[in-house]
Symmetry: C2
Subunit: 271 residues, 2 copies
């Protein structure tokens, strides 16, 4: 039983994204303990909570006491959930009490929407941003490039596409990206297509080994994927970023979320 | 001064995504109070924290006492931040203490990475998923459709693309989408291209008014955007979903995150 993982539940009355993100972030601080994760979204009734509580009790019977992280707002629903035999960590309500004290007012009975729902403006912005990103992926289109909030520049396979999509989806930013190829070198300045938008350009680089690995996935044993070619392309790209004063970041040690946050901070796109 | 918004800071030693998401979710419970939001990521040194604390103190001087939500892990950094004149809400460390008690062990000194960094496997999965989504957007490709974890089916402009991208980016799922057009009707069953994958299909619908609004954005005053055409297409789509037993959801009242969570739950794609 020592090696049986302990069950960890992320329970939410909405999507479960916050409960899961914060819960996981807390659990990684215990690397010696093995957990099995379960995300349970949309628990917004006493019946739903009772079903989850039964599942948690079964996990408790089968092994170690489970850990339950929850962001359930309704006190009635939270109470039913709380009857499960587990350690319950309420990620929301304790902080609401702190806020009530600070603001000298009580939290709204109706309780706000956890994620923005039906916000038409925001929805349109995200949809437009994702479509703009698809249209401009990999330098495919130079239409409306002047509208771009960000222009991500990098050699092939440095992480432009997922970072572009993340910025579009999460923040509704218009993001284009431009692949640096051999045709762009030698050059003194930025490629002509993107030169007018230098102030909104952001470069990505990575390590030659990592780039070579990623490229081998796509074209095994090609010159394109060779360590020599990757080393050359990255050196030229970094030289270009430095010469043209374009901020850049190394994607090999950063998640897509982190790169996006660095880009937003660097280009002052965040409030 | 009564109408001056109160400053709310979301401070993190990483991307700030969790601090901002949870902080905002808490603040919406006070609809009578007006806040001005500031997200400050990458505060991971005493110097960085001191700079933020000075900014918070300036906000305090200018108006009401600010609220600071933080997910700063280092006690030294958190202490410097904590000297700012504000209500401090620690979203992380209190829960770590609860977990230590439950697990009978202390949290790792090194402290885990808040977001998965440098996890090559996960990175590859997300990159592949985003590229798959781009390739398969709007039914453009039927290559490797058998590999799709999800196939989103809907008339044009019901929210297929942003939902597809979200599932790909957030969960690394392979998601294709298929636009239902007049050519697909009348039909008894699913369109031939997607019929073999019925078990992985998920439908989207919306309200005729909303669809008409969204379509007018793209093609003003077209038949395509007319209320009559939108009503017809949505009725036919919903009939098809019901007849072929494809689960579906109405996108008009749901955020992209919520639709994604519903789809994952419905197709049992979540642990």
């Amino acid at each position: 039983m020592t090696n049986t993982p302990r069950a960890a539940y992320f329970v939410s009355d909405s999507t479960g994204i916050t409960a899961e993100t914060l819960g996981r972030a807390l659990l990684v601080n215990f690397p010696g303990v093995s957990f099995r994760h379960h995300t349970v979204p949309f628990v917004d009734s006493a019946e739903g909570a009772a079903a989850v509580a039964r599942e948690i009790d079964r996990a408790a019977d089968a092994g170690k006491e489970p850990i339950v992280f929850h962001t359930v707002r309704s006190p009635a629903v939270a109470q039913v959930l709380g009857e499960a035999r587990a350690t319950h960590i309420d990620l929301l309500n304790g902080h609401l009490t702190e806020l009530e004290a600070a603001l000298g007012t009580t939290a709204s009975e109706q309780l706000g929407s956890f994620h923005t729902v039906g916000d038409t403006e925001q929805y349109f912005a995200r949809m437009r941003a994702v479509e703009y990103a698809i249209e401009h992926d990999d330098g495919q289109s130079i239409r409306a490039l002047d509208q771009a909030d960000v222009l991500i520049v990098a050699p092939s396979r440095c992480g432009k596409t997922p970072t572009t999509m993340y910025l579009a989806l999460q923040y509704g930013l218009l993001v284009a990206n431009y692949p640096l190829t051999d045709d762009d070198f030698p050059t003194d300045g930025l490629p002509r297509t993107i030169a007018p938008y230098a102030a909104r350009c952001f470069g990505l680089t990575t390590t030659p080994l990592r780039l070579s690995q990623v490229r081998h996935e796509r074209r095994p044993d090609s010159t394109y994927a060779s360590l020599a070619q990757c080393t050359l392309e990255l050196r030229r790209a970094e030289d270009l970023y430095r010469r043209t004063h374009i901020p850049f970041v190394n994607s090999s040690t950063k998640s897509v979320e982190e790169m996006s946050a660095v880009i937003m901070q660097s280009l002052k796109l965040r409030a």
